[in-house]
């Protein structure tokens, strides 16, 4: 396995660890050690399957603004083809996109747009800060540039480079895929934000737990 894995912290000294989900021993990411023991067998497999399915079919929303767009074109075009990792299909509507790729500098005038696009993306969604300007504002430390997109929206993967070579982008995508694989994916998880004023039918549907047929027909 690649050597850029985080060092594995043994949970309890030399006590043998719990069996791993997929992969060999030294690839447990630090974050997920405790979590795996707590969820049941069925959820673990479902989470694994969903993680595998989601990581290999990432639809990206290319939020392209600046020079990184040139390297984005190279990463998408024939030679450094991102299609080999399943992330080739750019969806320009946040409804159908999984990954928000912030490609290029985010300036202060762009932040409301970025925030709105991120909020309108449907779950499960991830964010990749493509290039130094999206990660930390780059060398534009002035009144106009936001010092990193993570001051506005949470970011999952930071790809350094100004602009990053396409290989770096693919490596960033690989890291994101590892993260998705080891994330916990729940089925049937639904939450409604308090400020949403649903119409009566939708509310009735949500509150009452109805028979399977009722749910199916959406009564």
């Amino acid at each position: 396995m690649s050597d850029h894995r985080l060092p594995v912290l043994k949970p309890e000294g030399n006590v043998p660890e719990s069996p791993r989900i997929g992969g060999d021993e030294n690839t447990i990411p630090v974050l997920a050690t405790r979590l795996e023991e707590s969820i049941g067998f069925f959820e673990k497999n479902l989470s694994n399957a969903l993680g595998w399915a989601r990581k290999n079919s990432i639809f990206q929303y290319p939020f392209v603004t600046a020079c990184c767009g040139m390297e984005y074109m190279s990463a998408m075009a024939g030679r450094y083809d991102i299609a080999r990792f399943g992330a080739e299909f750019p969806r320009f509507s946040p409804r159908q996109a999984d990954l928000l790729m912030i490609v290029g500098t985010i300036n202060v005038k762009q932040t409301p747009v970025l925030k709105r696009v991120y909020d309108q993306m449907t779950e499960p969604k991830w964010v990749m800060a493509f290039g130094v300007c999206a990660s930390s504002g780059g060398f534009y430390d002035n009144y106009a540039t936001v010092q990193g997109a993570d001051r506005v929206i949470p970011v999952d993967v930071y790809v350094p480079g100004c602009p990053p070579r396409p290989e770096q982008v693919l490596d960033g995508l690989k890291i994101l895929q590892d993260k998705i694989q080891h994330q916990r994916h729940r089925a049937m998880s639904k939450e409604v934000a308090p400020d949403v004023h649903l119409d009566v039918a939708a509310q009735r549907r949500l509150q009452k737990n109805r028979s399977f047929l009722g749910k199916l027909l959406g009564k």
């Binding site: 202060v108 409301p112 779950e123 930390s136 002035n142 009144y143 001051r151 949470p154």
Partner: protein, 220 residues
């Protein structure tokens, strides 16, 4: 070769020309504000000069031209404004706007300059002569706050309407950001303990990795 242009302008508008000089091959003529439109109109429509292409309208703030301290970026003060109006004396004339004209058929160019005092920052607009002047004048207004009287819609072009102040003025600090969306304020992780918006001297361990504003449930 276009020294003739300056003489032509001097001879046509003797009282309008304040001064003129040529530096490294560029001819610049400084004109009084009142007959700016007249001079540029003449330069544009006269077949002999035929300066039809308005390349650029540039603005410069001469506040710290004399007293700007030397030294590379490392020595520049980051947060404090470059020029403190109270302590240092005012500079007059403070701004100048330079109109860069070029003639495609005659292959010569001329720069017409107008100098403005800091308390009366108004220049007549030349959108009636050149249609491209519309955006350039909005750019100079947006960056320096120079009012172009008679401009059809003098609003900010690059900065957002809620922005206070004029960024390219010398007394506007480099890093003074006015965020539109409430920014998550965490110290500059990359630059370490230097003076960042979040305050200086926060040890590395307490900085976080951009995850503070995410409620854990979405990251199950």
């Amino acid at each position: 070769m276009s020294q003739a242009l300056i003489d032509l302008v001097r001879e046509k508008f003797p009282e309008a020309v304040v001064s003129s000089h040529s530096h490294r091959g560029d001819e610049v003529v400084t004109v009084r504000r009142e007959n700016l439109v007249e001079v540029i109109g003449f330069l544009r429509n006269d077949p002999q000069t035929d300066l039809k292409l308005l390349r650029q309208i540039a603005g410069v703030d001469l506040l710290t031209y004399k007293t700007e301290m030397t030294g590379g970026a490392a020595l520049a003060s980051i947060e404090a404004p470059a020029y403190d109006m109270q302590r240092k004396p005012r500079v007059e004339p403070r701004y100048y706007v330079s109109y860069n004209l070029y003639s495609i058929t005659k292959h010569h160019s001329l720069r017409v300059r107008v100098e403005l005092r800091s308390d009366d920052v108004k220049v007549p607009s030349i959108t009636s002569l050149y249609r491209t002047a519309d955006w350039w004048e909005r750019y100079v207004y947006d960056m320096f706050g120079v009012e172009f009287t008679g401009h059809p819609n003098l609003t900010r072009i690059l900065m957002y309407p809620e922005f206070q102040g004029f960024p390219l003025r010398k007394d506007y600090p480099v890093r003074k950001r006015q965020p539109l969306v409430p920014e998550l304020d965490f110290p500059d992780l990359v630059r370490g303990p230097g003076p960042g918006p979040g305050g200086a001297g926060v040890p590395m361990s307490q900085t976080h990795v951009g995850r503070q504003n995410v409620d854990p449930s979405t990251y199950d």
